[in-house]
């Protein structure tokens, strides 16, 4: 209980060389990314791009070579992530697999699952979706009702998952499902299990849901008697809540929790030279960016040491979400219809819309603050 500690961390010694390689690659790849694509950032899905990233060894970088990984450090991986985010690269086709599905399989999957899935995530071939939220279970995730019932050789799934970003473009999801009834309403965290589900399974239908920005970002997935073989249960039956909680630590820990809107600051900066009030505003934004980057690095360092910094990640995500969400609003106060270029306005418009999701996805602001409050010892 009490205040959380954030030890300062350094990026790895080979970071400058790695950055140079990434910047050259991203400049080449990003020639045709519109301001809208960059504003959509890691929700953007571009399989060809992800394959190119995979070819260069930048997916599954920390995983064992036996599964196609690069056995690099978590800090090397951090450098790759932040370089991608800084330019708003459309990394969505490999982001979830690299960030949470792959690490989950690596830690808890069977040997067969590791050999089957990890190399194909690494190459950028296999895209993963997150299978947590349901129509009636958002922040109260453990109340979920999609059920897997034991049958000969496997399980049958009935129910629905929703807000699954890019599921209609993905190949697999790791779904958190109820495999036995909760012993009583207060123990609803029990009886949950995680499964690898092929999104092309018979009985599974995916309905894209248009988002407010006009993109087919997320989906509703209906499971109508979908069969999953025993071999695709992940980890231990009944242990799904603990596993998903650890998965959420990965989901919340990364630099995408403060960097989603940084490309706008980069894009707008040259125009702002003509704006007398800009220096102070830009300075405040930069001061926070540098601080958040160090907080985020600190969490990456804990992951590197094999810790599960769930609470630290929640805190950095909360502070980071506030930052990335406010950035487009703050910069807008400095824009001028007669002066600010159309591409900058385009990015600002897109980000203003998309930014609403920053404090929702991966755990709402209110849920994160509840976690922080418990850590403080409030009860």
């Amino acid at each position: 209980m009490g205040a959380l500690r954030f030890e300062l961390r350094d990026t790895p010694p080979d970071a400058p060389a790695l950055r140079a390689e990434l910047r050259a690659f991203l400049a080449e790849q990003g020639r045709n990314w519109s301001p809208t694509v960059r504003a959509y950032s890691w929700m953007g899905f571009d399989r060809d791009f992800s394959r190119e990233v995979g070819k260069r060894g930048w997916i599954g970088m920390t995983w064992p070579r036996a599964y196609g990984g690069g056995e690099r450090t978590a800090m090397d991986r951090y450098v790759v992530l932040e370089e991608m985010l800084a330019v708003g690269a459309p990394v969505g086709a490999h982001w979830i697999g690299d960030r949470q599905s792959g690490p989950l399989i690596l830690r808890l999957g069977t040997e067969e699952q590791r050999r089957e899935f990890l190399p194909r995530i690494v190459s950028g071939e296999l895209a993963f979706a997150i299978g947590l939220s349901e129509p009636d279970s958002g922040s109260d995730l453990a109340s979920l009702r999609t059920r897997a019932t034991k049958v000969e050789g496997g399980w049958r799934i009935e129910g629905r998952k929703v807000w699954t970003t890019n599921a209609h473009r993905c190949d697999f999801m790791i779904a958190l499902l109820r495999t036995s009834p909760a012993p009583d309403p207060r123990a609803k965290h029990q009886g949950l299990s995680q499964f690898l589900v092929d999104l092309r399974s018979s009985g599974l239908s995916i309905r894209p849901i248009l988002d407010l920005a006009g993109e087919e970002g997320f989906n509703e997935i209906t499971f109508d008697n979908v069969f999953v073989p025993d071999s695709l249960l992940v980890g231990k039956e009944g242990n799904g809540w603990e596993q998903a909680t650890a998965e959420l630590a990965f989901e919340r820990a990364g630099p995408e929790r403060y960097l989603s809107s940084l490309p706008l600051l980069t894009a707008a900066l040259d125009d702002l030279r003509a704006e007398p009030a800009a220096a102070e505003t830009v300075g405040r934004l930069l001061a926070r960016a540098g601080t958040l980057r160090q907080m985020s690095l600190s969490v990456a360092g804990m992951l590197q040491e094999g810790k599960t910094p769930a609470r630290e990640a929640a805190l950095v995500k909360d502070v980071g979400n506030d930052y990335e969400q406010a950035l487009p609003e703050t910069l807008r106060t400095l824009f001028d219809a007669a002066r600010t270029p159309a591409e900058v306005w385009e990015m600002q418009r897109m980000m203003t819309m998309v930014a609403r999701s920053y404090s929702l996805r991966g755990g709402t602001r209110e849920i994160l603050r509840g976690i922080i409050a418990r850590q403080l010892g409030l009860r």
């Binding site: 009490g2 205040a3 959380l4 954030f6 300062l8 350094d10 990026t11 010694p13 970071a15 400058p16 950055r19 910047r23 932040e82 800084a86 330019v87 940084l262 600051l265 980069t266 894009a267 707008a268 900066l269 040259d270 702002l272 030279r273 800009a278 220096a279 102070e280 505003t281 830009v282 300075g283 405040r284 930069l286 001061a287 926070r288 960016a289 540098g290 601080t291 958040l292 980057r293 160090q294 907080m295 600190s298 805190l315 909360d318 502070v319 506030d322 209110e366 994160l368 603050r369 509840g370 976690i371 922080i372 409050a373 850590q375 403080l376 010892g377 409030l378 009860r379």
Partner: protein, 335 residues
């Protein structure tokens, strides 16, 4: 200093302040009573000279170590100007001048006075490209409007020593050191007021239960915890940058620390007062001993606005293409 040695040092400082500081000492300091016993023990521990190397009577602390000490000092309301005296000694040593014992006042250009200037035996100032040490002559006594601590204008005596400011310190060394001190003190005091507010929320009952059980209160304090953590990281980062690259080249991190800590001071002070409600608005409760210092420290040695303008103008001059490369290169170039 190794991590292990630093944590031993920090424990010593924490224990000393826990035994000798406290609200009564802070109140007496505000009434003009110099905390003699505390200062004597700090001198006995060698703290005021600790930033100087051993051959100059110090302990060879780095700026990073010093920031950690100042954060502990801030947690206890900084009843004595230890941070300023340490920094002044550190600057002198870096310029090759052996620091004398006693309270060394750090003269920061543009500041209205010197904390406890009436107690300063010597002054350290930068002008004309030189760092100057001189005896402190008569002080014109005043007090800070927020902290109520003595804030005096000191007449400098004739120079005792002067040396060119080395490039690592730069012409603005006292200002940068001063801003780093304020950021570290703020980061520490923020921890103290957050702890106080959490304790209060867990004990104060309304509607039959502790108010800390209400989500409205929890959300406020969680938000405060984020600001407190950010201020601590920003201050530590400034200290580390100054240790590695010298104060002059740590301008971005020092500025960032002052901006982030200053913003946090305003937001967190508002939250902890809201949580304490009427009792926190009284003189009797000790909360204001810390929140008034937070408001004082965020104004001292350059407000958020001043430092933000400085790094913002530099970034605007460099242009959009340099923004991210500059942000990532600072640490990597030095490692």
């Amino acid at each position: 200093m190794s991590d292990e040695l630093r944590s031993i040092l920090l424990e010593q400082v924490e224990k000393l302040l826990a035994d000798r500081a406290g609200p009564d000492v802070l109140r007496r300091a505000e009434a003009g009573e110099w905390p003699e016993a505390l200062w004597a023990e700090m001198e006995a521990l060698g703290l005021p000279l600790a930033l100087a190397p051993e051959e100059m009577g110090g302990a060879g602390l780095t700026w990073e170590d010093a920031v950690a000490v100042w954060q502990v000092l801030g947690r206890h309301g900084a009843p004595v100007p230890l941070a300023e005296s340490m920094a002044a000694a550190g600057l002198l040593a870096a310029a090759g001048i052996g620091p004398p014992p006693g309270y060394l006042g750090l003269v920061v250009a543009g500041e209205p006075g010197l904390s406890w200037g009436r107690r300063a035996q010597h002054l350290v100032a930068a002008h004309g490209g030189k760092l100057v040490l001189c005896p402190a002559a008569k002080a014109q006594e005043g007090r800070d409007g927020f902290s109520r601590l003595p804030l005096d204008v000191c007449q400098p005596g004739p120079d005792s020593a002067a040396a060119p400011l080395p490039p690592a310190l730069g012409a603005e060394a006292p200002l940068l050191a001063g801003a780093m001190i304020q950021a570290a003190l703020i980061a520490g005091a923020l921890e103290a007021v957050l702890d106080t507010a959490v304790d209060y929320a867990n004990t104060r009952k309304q509607f039959g239960r502790p108010i800390g059980g209400f989500q409205a209160v929890q959300q406020l304090l969680a938000q405060a915890a984020g600001e407190v953590a950010a201020a601590g990281v920003a201050a530590a980062q400034a200290g580390r940058a100054a240790s590695r690259r010298g104060l002059a080249a740590a301008e971005f991190e020092v500025a960032s620390a002052k901006v982030v800590a200053g913003e946090a001071a305003g937001k967190v002070a508002a939250i902890v007062h809201q949580v304490h409600a009427a009792i926190g608005f009284t003189d009797e409760h000790h909360l204001h001993l810390f929140t008034r210092r937070l408001w004082a420290w965020r104004d001292a040695c350059g407000t958020e606005r001043v430092w933000a303008q400085r790094i913002g103008a530099a970034a605007l001059a460099r242009g959009g293409a340099a923004l991210w490369p500059d942000l990532t290169a600072r640490d990597e170039a030095a490692v």
